[in-house]
Structures are given as C-alpha cells and as structure tokens.
C-alpha cells in the first residue's frame, strides 16, 4: 500500500532534475568514501524532500478505498465508577452511524495488555478506572458523524473512590500494578547510620505527554477469510499484530500490520496504538469495510498513557568531602489503572538512580502504584530520567550542605577504577568516560569562569538572578527484557543490481532507515540510492521488537549487515569459482566487484550471479551478546554498554515572576563512532529540548475529579523555538568508539541526551538558591514552571 518510490536515496527520482540540493549533499559524501552514503558520513534524512514538499505519506494520507468507515471512541467521564447503564440508542440513531461496538462485541479477548496480565480492556466492561477510558466505539460514514454521534451516549455511573497521586496511592494501600523491584548492594541502613552527614528529602517529578505531532491512528482493511491489514503509526508493529489477533480471536498469521513512517513516537506509540489497531480491525471485520480511527488531540491525550510521574523519597549519607557513603531511595510511580510497561519503566528508574555515581552501600525500591489515571507508558528514557534526576538532586543536596560547587561534588562521586565501579545492580562499569566528557565540557564551556561571573552577578542582589549547572548522564543500552534484544532484516538484490531492504525497525523521524541503508551500502559498497527501504511490515520480518530503548540502529543495523554479509559470501564464492581465483582476491569496491585484476560493475556482476543461479536474497538476524539479568536477585548485566554525555546550562530568572530564560547551553555527547553525525546531532538537540520541556513548562494537571485538564497544546506547553537556549553549542565526542562490537562501533542516541535537559533544571535551582545565599537546597519540584520557581523563591526568602 505504501506509495513510496524511493526512500533511502538522497534524492527523489522525480526530482532528479533538481541539482542544487542533491549534488551538494552527494558530493560531500562521495569525497570521503568511494560510494555515496557510506557509514560515518553526514547524510540527510531519506524522506527530507518528501517532508518539505508535503509528499511524505502518513497513515491519514493513504487514499481510502470506497466505502471507508470511521470509528470514534466514547470516553469515560469518571475516574473510577461502575457503569450502571450504558444507553447508546441515541448514538446508534445519529446521522451517518453504521453501528457501535462495546465490550461484548469483541470477538476474541477484550484485552490489549502488552504484558499478558489481562488488565487492560479495549473497551471498558462494567466499570471504568480512569477519566478518558474508552467505553464504546461508534462507526459512521464520516469521522465527523462518528464524533458527533459519540457525544450522544448516555452513561450512568456509580462513583467509586479514586486515587490520583502515587504517594496518596501508597498511603491508601492501593495495589502495585506489577511486582516492585529492589536493588541492593552492601548494607545501606547501617552505612547510613555510620555516615558523617545525612540528608533526607522528597522530590516530586511530573510526567510528560509525548505530544507527537501526528496523533494516534489506525486504518484497517478487511481481507478474505480471517485476514485483515492494518496500517498504523505504531512503534511496535509485531505487538500490534499479536494484539489485533488476540482481540479478534484469530492466529497472528491472519493479521498484517504496516507502518511507513510516524509523525513522532517517543515511546507514546509503543503499546498505546494497540487499542486503536484493535478497534479498527474489529470494526473492519464486522462490517467488512475499511475502517479508520483517529481520535481528536484532546481525546488522544486523555485516553493514552504518558511518562510516569514519580514521588521519590531519598536519603543520603556522606563524608565531610561530600563523598557518598550510602543511599536509599523509594521510587513511587503513578502507573495508572493497569500495568502496561510500568514494570520495566520503574525498573529502569532504579537502574538509573545512580546516574554516573558510585554508591558504596545502596538500597533502592520501586513502588509501581495503581492509580485511577490513564495507564502510563514508555517515553524516551523509559523511567531512566526519573532515576537520573533523583541522583542529581542528591548531588545538589550534598553541595548545598557542604557549601561546595555541585560540579565538584559530582566529580568526587563519579564511578572510578579502584573498586568504585560496580552499579547497584552489580554490573561493572567498564567503559566509564563520564569524567573525560565532563572535564572536556568544563573546559569548552568555560564553566569555572562563567560560574564565577554568575556568582558575582547574583552578589549584586538584583531582580534578575542567574544560575549555572553542569550535569552528566550515563545511560544503559539494551532492553532489560533480554529477549527483546533481537532483530531481523530482509535483503533482496534484483537481477538489475538494485537492492530492496527491509528490517523490523520503524521510522519515526530518528533517521533509522537512513542509517540502516548506510550500513548496507557500506557492506556491499554500492551507492545508497541503489537501495530502497520499504515500509515496515509484519509480513517481511516477523516477531520484531518495538523500535524503542534507543535500540533501532544497534539491532536492525546489525541484522541488515548480517543479511548483506550472507549474500556477499555467496557472491564471493561464486566469483572465486567463476573467475578461477581465491576468495581473498574478491573485493567489493565502489559500485563494482574486483576479482583479481578485473573490475566488474556491480550490476553486471549481479546479472552474472543471477544467471549462475546464486541466491540473491537473505534474511539477516542479530541478537545482542553478553547480556543477562536476574530480576529476582537484582543482579546481572542488563546493559550491553553505556552511552554518556554532559550538558552545561546557564539561566536567568526573574525573581518577581518566576519567569526564566535559558541563556546558554553547551553539550558534549557520546554516540561512539557515529553512523551519521548530522542525524545524531539532530537527535541530541531535539532530545535536550524535549528534556528541558519535561522539567520546565510541560505540566500535567488533573482536577480533583481526576480529569486531566492539560490535554491539548492549548493547555499543555511544549517548548517553542523561542525557548531554545540563546546560545546552543552541541558537539559529539568524536574520539569516542564503542568498546563493544556494535554496528560500526556506534552507540545508541535516541534516549540518552534527553537527560541533558536536567542541566536546565539544576541551573534554575542554582539561581533560586541565590536568594538565600546558597545556604539551602531549593528542592524544586519538577516541572519548574514559573509558578514553582517563584513560589520556591518566596519560600527561600522566608
């Protein structure tokens, strides 16, 4: 169904007559390597031209077959209630309505729980557990008709008590939605007692909506027998496939899920799309017509999960120099009404509660609390950021207590060599480059001199105060569910030498397709415009993992490389035989194959191979080595490697209003040997701004009835262009190389730089602290909206 003509080629075929862009970009690449689009070169996103011309096709742009119907969801208007009566007569009789679906119309299992806990109905059955929970779907001739009809439902509820906040849930003895995790090393409790100094505190960290610009959408087309094809904007086509099958009560082989591209995902489309795929598929099968479902933005934000909010109770013991002796932490998360991915998310919060620091004795507990809110889900960083920010709060606490610059405290607590290299989950940190990154950034950002200037400015006691902070990040790469760390790819070379590449990853803007095509171009030494990537589909590569955990290029790049190597091996053997030479004398050079002294153009060579009946297709596979994890004991090596980075931010704060400005940010980030530096830099910049938004203006606000009131961009404020740092210097650590054998020694980039935004939060805190002469830790809660900043200032002024 995808109408894409070329994907990976840096230029659309129909735009060949357009020399200015393409020539310049291609020439630059060609200069560095024999081929266009090799690895480690800057190559623009494969769809860039389609993006700017509006010709990139998203799910809602696919031409609809005649008779396409539209579904719309009816949502709960109670946080917790029994449904006494569901009267849908007025809905059914509304203009244009074809029918309605309720829980009892689900042919298979009424559940889309990704963990198999059977705790997440597609449509509520008898009770609702959050405001915005889907109760029914109405199917109509147009989306507008369906939407209008949905409003006509009459639902009578019997209210039940509801709990919204994670700490309130703990006090009310609400259950866990999934088993909690404990990470423990040494004897934290006794070590704490023996520590020279102790501080206890609590921090509230808000959640975050993904606000992908393209909302949720699924478009199902019924086929013969039990078959159905679902086009969607999901990060996890395989899971959507299995869920649709489960809900329809058919085997997975009847369901095909296709994704060409997403208009942003960020984790929000990892599991949350299952619901929409399921509703569209059920309706499509029931009425035997194509059915599309696309909620309005307000409904999208009300009915789908977000980043988990946390309430973190921490205690730290430390010596006179500020070196940590013991840490304990209780991490309570607002998980919502069901488990969804809350297990691995809250686990990852604990895995990152050390950030880059060594805790000699440590005890960390997660509390994945059930609350009467939408079920929270994956979001870039996957709980990691909430762990990292707790570590940074601890650094701040110690710094204000000791009257020392927080950067100095950070350095004193870094992981080191001499026995200071084991994490709370007993993995040894082998590749610690945090100290180097931090010290290089400290120099390049001129941190010390600027910090002094900030202190001098604040000493004048003016209305506008400044703050500066330099914070590191260390982020573990791999799915902690070990079996997820596998991937497949499918590679065909056609007899004319053109190449078709497919892999299990999905494109959501991160440039995955571009990078994977670069890997194949490099392996086969052909220009990248010979390679076409097609939409992701469960028909070509089965049982894929979500494109998540920053793993896209690591896994799919390796799988595609494996496929290329298989074909290459066959071709090499063929060449050796056909040209009567040794395999060692067969070399793939730029767009050709060199066999002894003879150089055969690639297309001619492929033609010969085809004539000689060489198999020109391969399925590649990859699984990440070395990793293992025993959750029961809290021990193992859950991460293949770590990615590092650091950011230094300076802010100005208006102490009359709490408004602020980010004056300057400097970033040094580690992506190993970058597959595509310009794309990686784009990921770093975008992640930083998103992380900054999480901690500044993005506030999820529920009223006391449990309705989320910040449910659209009118009320939920993500950063704008004018919120960027006034000066923004971003660099990749070009000396870094992954010590593990990852794809071309690169490192994952999607999530780690998100946490660089913490530098802004810490800098705000520093500016606030100045009003009390840095004598107390301001203990800002996140997000630090102007309101929170002003109220902290007023509190500190006393």
């Amino acid at each position: 169904m995808s109408t894409d003509k070329t994907v990976t080629a840096p230029v659309d075929t129909e735009l060949r007559s357009d020399p200015p862009v393409t020539d310049r970009l291609m020439r630059a690449d060609q200069d560095r390597s024999g081929i266009k689009g090799a690895v480690h070169t800057d190559l623009h996103h494969d769809s860039a031209i389609k993006h700017v011309t509006g010709r990139a096709e998203y799910c809602d742009d696919i031409a609809e077959p005649a008779g396409t119907l539209h579904a719309y969801l009816g949502l709960s208007t109670r946080a917790h209630a029994r449904i006494r009566d569901l009267d849908l007569e007025a809905v059914r009789s509304a203009p244009g309505v074809v029918g309605v679906l309720t829980a009892k119309d689900i042919p298979g299992v009424n559940d889309v729980s990704p963990t198999g806990l059977n705790d997440e109905p597609v449509l509520a059955d008898g009770k609702v557990e959050f405001w915005g929970q889907p109760i029914f779907a109405v199917i109509a001739e147009t989306r507008d008709a369906a939407r209008r009809a949905a409003k006509r439902a009459s639902v009578s509820y019997e209210d039940l008590p509801h709990v919204l906040e994670p700490d309130a849930a703990r006090e009310a003895d609400m259950p866990y939605v999934t088993p909690p995790l404990t990470l423990k090393r040494g004897e934290a409790v006794s070590a704490m007692e023996n520590a020279a100094h102790r501080i206890k505190g609590r921090m509230r960290v808000g959640g975050q909506d993904h606000l992908y610009l393209e909302g949720h959408i699924a478009f199902a087309i019924p086929g013969e027998d039990e078959d159905v094809i679902v086009h969607s904007s999901t990060q996890h086509p395989s899971e959507a496939q299995h869920m649709v099958a489960h809900v329809l009560g058919v085997p997975s082989n009847a369901v095909t899920v296709n994704v060409r591209r997403m208009g942003g995902g960020f984790g929000g489309k990892e599991t949350q799309m299952n619901l929409f795929c399921a509703v569209a598929a059920v309706a499509a099968k029931k009425w035997n017509r194509a059915v599309k479902i696309r909620p309005d933005r307000d409904d999208d934000m009300s009915a789908t999960g977000k980043r988990h909010d946390f309430v973190i109770d921490y205690e730290v013991g430390f010596d006179d120099t500020g070196r940590i002796q013991a840490v304990t932490g209780e991490f309570a998360a607002r998980c919502g009404f069901s488990a969804d991915l809350s297990g691995p998310v809250t686990d990852r919060a604990l895995f990152h509660a050390d950030n880059a620091y060594y805790y000699p004795d440590v005890l960390l507990n997660s509390h994945p609390m059930k609350t009467n809110t939408v079920s929270n889900t994956a979001f870039r960083g996957f709980g990691g950021p909430q762990g990292v920010i707790a570590a940074e709060r601890i650094m701040e606490e110690i710094a204000y207590h000791r009257g020392v610059d927080s950067l100095e405290i950070r350095k004193r607590n870094f992981y080191g060599e001499d026995g200071r290299d084991v994490t709370p989950y007993h993995q040894t940190v082998e590749d610690n480059i945090a100290p180097r990154i931090v010290s290089e950034l400290e120099q390049s950002a001129d941190y010390q001199a600027r910090r002094q200037a900030v202190l001098d400015w604040n000493a004048k006691g003016g209305i506008v105060r400044k703050g500066i902070a330099l914070t590191p990040v260390k982020f573990g790469i791999s799915f902690t569910a070990t079996w997820y760390n596998q991937a497949g790819a499918l590679l065909h070379i056609y007899s004319d030498g053109s190449i078709h590449l497919n892999h299990g990853g999905t494109e959501m803007g991160q440039g995955l397709n571009t990078k994977v095509a670069q890997v194949v171009a490099d392996e086969l030494q052909v220009d990248i415009d010979k390679i076409k990537i097609t939409k992701t589909t469960t028909e070509k590569v089965p049982n894929t993992s979500a494109t998540a955990a920053s793993s896209g290029s690591d896994l799919n790049g390796m799988a595609a490389r494996d496929a290329a190597i298989q074909i290459k091996d066959r071709l090499t053997a063929f060449a050796a035989e056909r040209w009567q030479t040794e395999a060692a004398k067969v070399r793939f050079v730029a767009n050709a194959v060199q066999i002894g002294d003879e150089t055969v153009p690639f297309a001619d060579f492929i033609r010969e191979a085809y004539m000689a009946r060489v198999q020109l297709s391969a399925a590649g596979f990859y699984k990440t080595p070395k990793i293992h994890w025993d959750r029961a004991t809290g021990k193992g090596r859950p991460f293949y490697y770590f990615a590092y980075g650091a950011a230094c931010s300076e802010v100005s704060v208006d102490t009359l209003t709490g408004e602020y400005r980010v004056e300057r940010t400097d970033i040094l980030h580690d992506v190993g040997r970058s597959l595509n530096p310009v794309i990686d830099k784009g990921q770093v910049e975008g992640a930083f701004i998103q992380g900054m938004g999480w901690l500044t203006t993005e506030e999820l606000w529920w009223d006391d009835k449990g309705q989320l009131r910040t449910h659209a961009p009118s009320t939920y404020k993500i950063p704008l262009a004018s919120d960027r740092p006034r000066v923004f210097n971003v660099a990749l650590a070009d000396w870094s190389e992954n010590r593990e054998q990852t794809i071309k020694r690169s490192k994952a980039v999607g999530e780690p730089p998100f946490m660089l935004g913490i530098s802004v939060f810490e800098a705000l805190s520093h500016a606030v602290a100045s009003v009390a002469d840095y004598s107390v830790c301001p203990r800002l809660d996140a997000p630090a909206t102007p309101e929170r900043v002003l109220m902290a200032i007023e509190r500190l002024k006393g």
């Binding site: 995902g265 009359l656 784009g682 910049e685 309101e787």
Partner: protein, 484 residues
C-alpha cells in the same frame, strides 16, 4: 441585488467555486478530504501547533497581501475572494524545491516531518516579507509552529539560509501577483453571499451597513470574525453555530485611523495590523503584543473578537481598560458608546444586545505625565494564554499620583480594574513604597481561581510583585527584565 449563493476563491493555481458550504466546514477538511491535498496536516485542530499552516492572500488597499493562517480553524466560507496557497504550490512544476524547502533539507530541518509543511509555510511567509530576518524575527514568526523532534535549531538555521538560495522577486507569488490581483478583483461583486449545506448556513454581508441589516434580520446568528475563538467551539465542542455571519472579509471593519485625540480601531482589525499604530504611541505594548498567540493567530484574531468574546483571560481587555478605551456598539443604524470596562458584566455576559455588534474601539492617545506598562504572565513565554495579565496607567503630576487605572486579567470572572489598589495610589507620592502598599490592597480587589494555568496563590503573589516591577521599570527600563 440578489444574493450570491456560491463562494469563489483561488486555490493554488485554480479557481474554486462552491455552492454547498456549511457553517462549520473548515479549510483543512476541505483541503485534505475534498481535494486530497494532504500536505497540510492536522496536529491539534485548535490553532496551536501550526501543522495546518497555509497562506491566505486577500485584497487590501489595492494589493494582494498574503498571511500565514491556521487552516484547521479557518472556516471555508470565509475564503470567498481570497487566494489559498498550500504547501503543494511551493515547489515548481518540474519538482524544483523552493528556497525555503531547499534550506530545510540542507539544514536537516525535518525529522519525523509531520510539522514540516507547516514550518515551510510560515518560513515562506516570513521570507516573502523579510528575506533576511534576525533570529528574534524568526522566533516570532515561528511562535505558532510546534516541532517535537528537532528542538528547532536546524529550522532556525534553515530560516537564515533561505535568503541565499533565492529572493522573493523570483518567487511565483511575486511574479503572479498582478494576475492574482486581477482575478481576485474579478471575484468581487459587492453582493451579499448566502450559502448553505443542508440546514447549515453562512452569510457574508456585502458591507458594514449590510452587516447591520443582516444582524437585525438574524439576531440569533453567530458572528465570526477571525474564528480563533469560534473555530474551537466547532472543532473541540462540536457546537452547531449556524447560521453564521462572517466578518473577516469586511474592509469597513478594518479601518485604523490615528486622530489627534484617539486611535480608532475597527472591530475587524487583527492583532498584526493594530500593532503599529498602538506601539507608536505606547511602545511598551510591542513586546506584549508579540506574546499574544502565534503569528497565524495574530493574522486571524481581531481586537473586536477578543473584546466581544468577553473572556477573563483575553489579553487586550485589561490593556484597553487601563488606557481608558471606549467602544462603539451598533444595532441597525443606532450606535452607542461606552467605556470598555462597562462592557464586561459577568463571566460570559457582555453588554451586547441581540442584533448588535461591536463596530470600533477608540483608544485615547497618551497624555503627558502618564506612565504605562503591560505585563503578561504565562507558563510558557510565547503562544500561551495568560495566567495573569496586568496593565498600568498612572498619571503623575509634581511627584504625586493624580490618576490610576490598573486592570487585570486572570484575577476575576471578567477583566477588571483593581479599584482598591487604584484608590490607594491616588493622592500618594509616586514612590516604591506607595506601589507596594497599593499591591497589598489587591487582596481586597480579587480572589483569583486555581486552575491548570496557575494557582490562586501564584496569581496573587505575581500580581503584587508586578507593582514592584512597574516601579523598577519606571526608574530603569531594563534593570528588572529578562533579556528578549
């Protein structure tokens, strides 16, 4: 003259004539669903994300003027006599990219690409108006465009680079401007348009006088100016607004004259157009104006609509109240004038009779000795609704305060003067102490609400602090401000 029952406009290089259009039909749905011009995206359907940005050209003072607007809340019927330009029109027939598109590609300005057509259109409009913009000008032009992927940096780089890749003189819209002008003029026939789809009806009066008549004939009709409020009633609340009376095409409501005593602003003047005249007299309004919504909304939303809507959190009412503005209301041929503060009776209740409309707003020109300020406090600096909006107008003669007009938004059910604080100031010496004492009287003036924008405590605290800011700025305008 009989009414016309169809609307006519230009869409890219075609003339479109439609004889069935309902009151709630939006331009975005028309483009995407009817014409399958799917380059224009829907991200929010409420004017906040900019993914749906298109240009609309309209006749103004004998020329065609193009402005970026949000197609999601632009009513289709309001396009009568306009030229709609969507992203599909930008690249040349042989596929050659427009300089703005080319710059976006070269500077990696797209990741997921969903926001990109909207950015391209905003940048295109900026480039036409100002090919070599400063960074601040770029940011101001992009206040109405959200991108969740890139962090904006590459888009800003692209905006700066576009000028080197081509100039507006070579652009299609420049080259074809005369021919578009002639076509648009030919579409004008000075007739009232009445068009419907089913029982949903739209009326486009022929003139302001005709508007007065139409409203007397249809006193229950919904007036729609820029649709930046009404659009959301439709896209978010699915409200049936038929019959609608459209105002945005009426040149007669768009007069802007600066007289000796006052600035007369037609109710249909939008934010963009009113900025110049107001800031010439009241320079402190410049920064404030630029924080109202984003560029697209400022091109659509009218001062008249902002006032008539009567929202307690609209930004212009506190300013207009503090400046002592009066408004002219008209019903048929009858007109009445009243001080603007008297217009706001209670939450959702304004002094507007059936069949009556707001015709003009009159803002007095500044007097000697007056000290002015206007402040907007919001969670996000740009394109956000105020938590608190405050406007000060204090007259000081011989070191004493002789008059004080201080109005707040976000502090009560209507935009409202701080009567107790004002009273505390009048007669006092112009001093920091007097302002701080007056600030404490706000507790007697207001009991603000807690909601998702701000808590009651914050609203009160920040409002008080603004009195101090007002003083500090009167002493040294930059001392207490964040950099722009």
């Amino acid at each position: 003259m009989t009414h016309r029952t169809e609307i006519r406009f230009l869409l890219n290089d075609q003339t479109v004539t439609l004889d069935r259009v309902g009151a709630s039909d939006t331009l975005l749905d028309f483009l995407r669903l009817e014409r399958r011009l799917t380059g224009t995206k829907e991200g929010c359907a409420e004017g906040d994300c900019g993914a749906c940005t298109v240009l609309v050209g309209r006749l103004q003072d004998g020329a065609v003027r193009y402005e970026p607007v949000n197609a999601c809340i632009r009513f289709l019927a309001s396009l009568d006599g306009c030229h709609v330009v969507s992203v599909e029109y930008l690249s040349g027939p042989e596929g050659r990219l427009h300089p703005v598109q080319q710059a976006m590609v070269e500077h990696h300005g797209s990741q997921c690409g969903f926001c990109t057509p909207g950015f391209v259109m905003s940048l295109y409009a900026l480039w036409m108006e100002n090919p070599d913009p400063s960074e601040t000008e770029i940011e101001t032009a992009l206040q109405g465009n959200l991108c969740r992927c890139t962090g904006y940096e590459p888009i800003i780089r692209a905006a700066k680079a576009a000028t080197a890749l081509g100039t507006p003189a070579e652009d299609a819209l420049t080259r074809e401007r005369d021919s578009v002008l002639r076509k648009l003029e030919a579409l004008r026939d000075g007739r009232r348009v009445v068009i419907s789809r089913g029982d949903s009806r739209c009326i486009l009066p022929a003139s302001v006088d005709d508007l007065a008549e139409v409203l007397v004939e249809n006193p229950k009709a919904t007036m729609v100016a820029g649709a930046t409020d009404v659009g959301l009633w439709v896209t978010k609340f699915l409200r049936d607004i038929s019959p609608v009376v459209l105002l945005s095409h009426l040149d007669g409501l768009r007069n802007l004259t600066v007289g000796a005593e006052s600035i007369e602003i037609g109710a249909g003047v939008n934010y963009t157009d009113s900025r110049g005249a107001l800031t010439a007299d009241y320079p402190q309004l410049g920064a404030f104006w630029d924080r109202i919504a984003g560029w697209q909304i400022r091109n659509m939303g009218t001062i008249g609509g902002n006032v008539a809507n009567g929202s307690p959190i609209g930004d212009t009412p506190p300013v207009l109240i503090a400046l002592g503005a009066t408004i002219t209301l008209r019903r048929g041929s009858e007109r009445r004038r009243l001080p603007i503060e008297d217009f706001f009776i209670d939450y959702g209740k304004q002094d507007l009779a059936e069949g009556e409309f707001l015709e003009a707003i009159s803002v007095p020109r500044p007097t000697a000795g007056a000290i002015h300020a206007a402040y907007k406090i919001s969670k996000r600096r740009d394109e956000d609704i105020s938590s608190v909006c405050a406007a000060f107008n204090v007259n000081v003669t011989d070191g004493r305060i002789t008059e004080a007009r201080i109005a707040f938004g976000g502090m009560a059910a209507t935009p409202k003067r701080a009567a107790n604080a004002e009273a505390a100031l009048v007669g006092a010496a112009w001093s920091e102490a007097a302002l701080i004492a007056a600030a404490d009287r706000l507790e007697d003036d207001f009991t603000p609400l807690t909601d998702w924008r701000a808590s009651s405590e914050y609203r009160m605290q920040v409002s008080k602090n603004l009195f101090r800011r007002f003083w500090l700025e009167s002493q040294d305008s930059d001392a207490a401000r964040l950099s722009a």
